[in-house]
C-alpha cells in the first residue's frame, strides 16, 4: 500500500474542499471496498478523506419521501422499522448481501459506489479496460461466469455487484449529491452507467462530488414484494442473478409493478418494458412466463455464463410468483 494523507473533516463542505485538493483523493466511508482495493494496488490514493464524522447518518421521513443519509450503515437501513414496513424490498435486498459484519460497516453511499468483482479488474497483472483504459478486457474471452448478459460492450462485460442497488432502482430512488458546483439530484436509473466506450466510469457522479443522501418516494409496495438472489452458495457470495419485484395487486390485478435484476448488467437492470406488459394483467403463472420472455429480449451470453439465459427468467418468474403469493 502506498503512503497517503488522511484527513477526517467534520463538515460536508470541508470534505468536498479537501477531496478537491488532490487529483488522486478519495472519500472513505465504511472502507469495506476501498481498503481492499488499496491493499491490492487497484486504487492508490494520495489522500483519503474520511467522511465518517459528517452529519449524514439519519433516516428521515420528509413529506412522503424516505431519506437515508449517505453514512447510514446497511444494517441500520435493513433493520429500520419504517423501512421494513414500507419498503420491505430494500431490507430484503440488503440482507441478501455480504455478511452481518460487512453490513455493519458498509454505508449507503459506499454501497452505491462499490466496484465490480470481475476477477480481471481485481488483479493488477491482468488486462482490464475498467482499471486501465485501453488495456483490453480479460473477461471477454476469459473466465466470464459472473458476467453481464445485458448492455455490455466489447470494452467491458462486468456487472454491478450490489444487491441494494437493485432494490433502489426498482423503488425509483433519487441520489442527492453535493460538490464543488451546485448540489444536484440524480434519478437512480441515471446514476449507474452502461460501459460503452468508457467502462472506467461506473456512474455519472462527477469528480469530487459527495453523495449526501438518497430519497425513496412513497409507493404502495409494502406487501407483494420479493428479492430473490441466486448464487454459488447459500450466503456470502455475490449474485449470479437476482430479481427485485414490487407489485401492487388489487383483486388479483396488477395495478402497479416495478422490476429490476442484478448480476446481469453493468448497472442495476430495470425492466421497464416488462413492467408495462404486466400492468393491468391478472396474476397468473402464464403471465409471469410471458413477462420473463420480454425481460430477456436482447440478452447475450458468453462462454461461461450461458446458464444465465435460463437462470435469469426462472429467477424472475420465481420472484414474481413469490411476491404475488402464487407460491410461498
Amino acid at each position: 500500500m502506498n503512503q497517503f494523507q488522511y484527513v477526517r473533516p467534520a463538515e460536508t463542505s470541508g470534505a468536498i474542499k479537501s477531496v478537491a485538493l488532490d487529483a488522486n483523493a478519495h472519500f472513505l466511508a465504511g472502507g469495506t471496498n476501498l481498503v481492499d482495493l488499496m491493499k491490492m494496488g487497484i486504487v492508490t490514493p494520495e489522500r483519503l478523506v474520511d467522511i465518517n464524522n459528517l452529519p449524514l447518518k439519519k433516516i428521515e421521513n420528509i413529506q412522503g419521501h424516505l431519506r437515508i443519509g449517505a453514512l447510514v450503515t446497511n444494517t441500520q437501513v435493513a433493520e429500520n422499522k419504517f423501512v421494513k414496513e414500507n419498503f420491505p424490498l430494500l431490507s430484503m435486498a440488503i440482507n441478501a448481501g455480504a455478511s452481518p459484519q460487512l453490513r455493519n460497516m458498509a454505508t449507503t453511499g459506499g454501497n452505491l459506489l462499490q466496484r465490480t468483482r470481475c476477477p480481471y479488474f481485481f488483479d493488477t497483472t491482468m488486462p482490464c479496460n475498467k482499471r486501465v483504459p485501453g488495456s483490453g478486457c480479460g473477461a471477454l474471452e476469459g473466465y466470464n461466469r459472473m458476467h453481464a448478459i445485458f448492455g455490455a460492450s466489447d470494452k467491458c462485460i462486468a456487472v454491478n455487484p450490489s444487491d441494494m442497488n437493485v432494490a433502489l432502482t426498482a423503488l425509483n430512488a433519487f441520489v442527492h449529491v453535493s460538490g464543488p458546483k451546485a448540489a444536484r439530484t440524480i434519478p437512480f436509473a441515471d446514476f449507474h452507467r452502461l460501459p460503452g466506450d468508457h467502462p472506467e466510469q461506473d456512474t455519472t457522479l462527477q469528480k469530487n462530488e459527495l453523495i449526501t443522501s438518497i430519497d425513496i418516494p412513497t409507493a404502495p409496495f409494502s406487501k407483494n414484494v420479493h428479492y430473490l438472489k441466486v448464487r454459488d452458495r447459500s450466503s456470502y457470495a455475490f449474485a449470479l442473478v437476482s430479481a427485485a419485484v414490487a407489485l401492487h395487486i388489487e383483486n388479483n390485478t396488477i395495478k402497479d409493478v416495478r422490476l429490476a435484476m442484478g448480476g446481469v448488467a453493468h448497472k442495476p437492470w430495470r425492466l421497464t418494458a416488462t413492467e408495462t406488459f404486466l400492468k393491468g394483467k391478472t396474476v397468473s403463472e402464464d403471465t409471469f412466463k410471458q413477462a420473463a420472455q420480454i425481460a430477456m429480449e436482447g440478452a447475450k451470453a458468453y462462454e461461461h455464463n450461458k446458464f444465465k439465459l435460463k437462470l435469469a427468467p426462472n429467477t424472475l418468474i420465481q420472484a414474481l410468483k413469490t411476491a404475488s403469493g402464487l407460491t410461498v
Binding site: 500500500m1 502506498n2 494496488g41 468483482r117 476477477p119 473466465y143 441466486v230 454459488d232 450461458k306 407460491t327
Partner: protein
Amino acid sequence: MMSDQPLIGQPISRLEGHLKVTGTAKYAGEYNVPGLLYGYVINSTITKGKISSINTKIAKALPGVIEVFTHENRPSLAWFDMQYSDMDAPPGSPFRPLHTADIKYNGQPIALVVAETFELARYAASCVEIKYTEEPFSTDLKENIDKARAPQPGLATFLKPLPPKPKGDFEKAYNDSFAKASGEFYHGTEHHNPLELFSTTTIYEGQGKLTIYDKTQGTINSQLYVGNIFGLHFKDVRVIAPYVGGGFGSGLRPQYQLFLSVMAALELKRPVRVTLERNQMYTFGHRPPTIQNTRFGADANGKITALNHSAIAETSQFEDYTEVVVNWSNMLYPAENTLMEYKLVPLDVYSPLDMRAPGGSTGSHAIESTMDELAYKLNIDPIELRLINYAETDTSVGRPYSSKELRQCFIQGAEKFGWSNRNPEPRSMRRGNKLVGYGMATGIWESMQLPARAEAILTKEGKLLVSSAVTDIGTGTLTVMTQIAADELGLPLADVTFSYGDSKMPFAPIQGGSFTVSTVGSAIKAAGKALRKKLFKKAKDIKNSPLKGTDLEDVVFKNGDIISKNNPALRVSFQDILALNKGAIKTTNTSLPKAFKLKKYSRAAHSAAFVEVEVDEQLGVVTVTRSLTAVAAGNIINPKTARSQILGGMVWGISKALREETITDYKLGKYMNQNLAEYHIPVHADLHDMDVIFVEEKDEIINELGSKGVGEIGIVGMPPAIANAIFHATGKRINQFPIHFDSLL
C-alpha cells in the same frame, strides 16, 4: 478425581480448546522478538519463461528496507536435488526458490523483500521492476490428455502404490456382462486454504544456530529440509510448531516461506518472519484436476464380474506427484476381471500436493457413482448391490482385512437415516416445489502406520511427561495422546502433560494420511509401557517390597499406585519409588509397525455415507438437507474429537460436490479466484442436519491401540452420495464436480 473407567474411549474436550478460542494460543507467525524483520514475497505474474531483468534499486532505497533477495544475489546453496527433498516429495526434481531466472509456473516466488515492517516490505515489493521473456505454456488438463504417460516410480510409491496388474480378461467379461454401467468423471483444481496462513519466524541464534517457528505438519521434516539445504547441523536447527491452524495436507511439504525466511535470517543474521497472504496460498500445492473413466459389468444376480477404472491426473513439469485413485474399487468389490490404469500429464503448474483423502476422495467419486448407476441398471437397491458384492477379503491383493465392519455401517446407517423411506424411482419424491433425493456411497481409506519415537518421564513430583516431535494440526492430537499416556500409567488426565510440535523431541513423521494415532499413539503406548516396566522393577527393588514375587501382569497401575490384582492391600506408590530414586525416571521408546505381521493383511477404515438433497429445478439450487456417515475405524480413542473429524470431512464433501473449485484462465495459466470470497467453501447456511455413527469394530492386528485413524474417511463417501442423491431427485447423472446450476437447469 480418578474413575475406574479408562480415558481411552471418552469424549474429552480438546485440552487446548480454551487457549484457541480466547486467542491465547500462539501460532508460527505470532512469535515476536526485538529487531524482527518482515519478508514479503514477490510472485511471478507470467506462467512460463525467464526473468530478463529485475530492478530492485527503488525498493532498496526506501528507508527501512533492508534487502531484496532474488536469484541474482541469493546465497549459494546445496547442489543436489536430494538435498531439497522432503518426507512427502514425489519422484522428480523438487522446486528450488530463487534458483535461476527460469519461471516454471504462475505465482512462482521470485524475490523476497525484507524490511522493518510488513507494510513497508509489501509496498517496497510493488516498487521492484521485473521484466520477463515469455514462453508458450499449457495448464489445461483436458486439452492435453494426449500427453498422458505412466508416472515414474520412486520412494513415494511405497505409501502410494501404483495400480495393480490387470486380472482376467476385462474386455471380454465386460462385453459378456448382463448389466453395464460406465461414466467419465472430472473435478478441477482445489486448494487447501487452512485458516492459518503459511508463516515462518526464524530466530537467528548466532553461530549457525536457528530456532524456527514454522507452519508445518512435520517439525522434523522442516528441520531436515533446512539442515540439508543450508548446510547446517541438524542439532543446530530447531523447528517448533506448537499450534497449527489447519493443514489438510498443505503443510506436509516444507513450503517456500520456510526457505525464504531461513535464507534471509542466515544472510542478515537477524530474525526474519515471512507470512504469505491469502492469494499466495494458491502458489504452492493443490489437489490435481483429474479425469476418470469407469466401466463396471455385472451378472444377472448383481455380482460384479468386470471392473475398469482409469484416471488421468495433472502433475508439474518437475515432479511426478501421484495419488491412489484407481486401486480402491477392487478392494471393495471382488471382481475377477480388472483393468486399472493411472497416468499423468505434466503441465506448467506447481506440483500437486496431498489434500485430505488424496486420491481416495477422487476415486470414490467415480467408483461409487458408477455403482449407483449399476444398481439402477440392475433394478437392485444400492445397498443391496454393495452387499451382494461385499469383499470379505481384499481380492485386489489376495489378503484378508485386519477387520471390516462395513456391513454394520450399512445396516446401522440405513436404519438411522431412514433409507427404507426411499422410493427408488428418480423424481418420485417431492417436498413443496422441490425435488427430494436420497443417495448413499461407500467410503474406504487405508490405515497406515509409520515408525515413531516417544519419551515418557515420571517427574519427582509424580507427574507424567510424554513427548514427541509430532504436530497437532487441529485434529485433537494433544488430547488423544494425553489420554493414551494417562491410561498406560493409570494416571488422571491432570497429572499428564504431552509436549509436542518441536523437532528436538523424539522423532515423528509428518502428520497426515490419518496415521498419527496409529504411529505416534503406538510410540507413546510403547514408551508408557517401558516406563511401567521400569517403575515396576524399581517397586520390587524396594526393600521388603509388598510386590516381591508378583509379575507385571499381576498388578494394576492406578492413580499413582502399583497394586496387586490378587490382594489390593499389596501396593507400592510412585512416591515411594521416587523417594528412593531421587530424581525423575525416564524412558524413550521406538514403535515400529510390525511389518511382517501387518503385511499379511489389508488394513482400512470404511464408511457408509447417506445424504438427502432438495433440488430446486427452476433455480438449479441444491441443498443437502440431511446427511449421516457411519464409520468403522477400529477403536475410537476420543469420540468427540473423532466426530469432529468426520463432520469436518463431511462438510468438505459437500464443498467438493457442490461448491469448491479453483478456476483457471488457461489463456493466462493463472488461478482466478485466489481469495475466500470467490473460492467458495460452504458457509453455515449451507449446512443442515448432520450426524455421525461409529460402529463397533475390534481390530487386534492393526496396532496395540486397535485404532485406525479418522482424519480422512469422513470426506470419502460424501461427494458421490450427494451426486447419487441428485440423480435420485432429478434423474440427471452429473459427473463433473462441483455440480453447478449449469447442469441442473
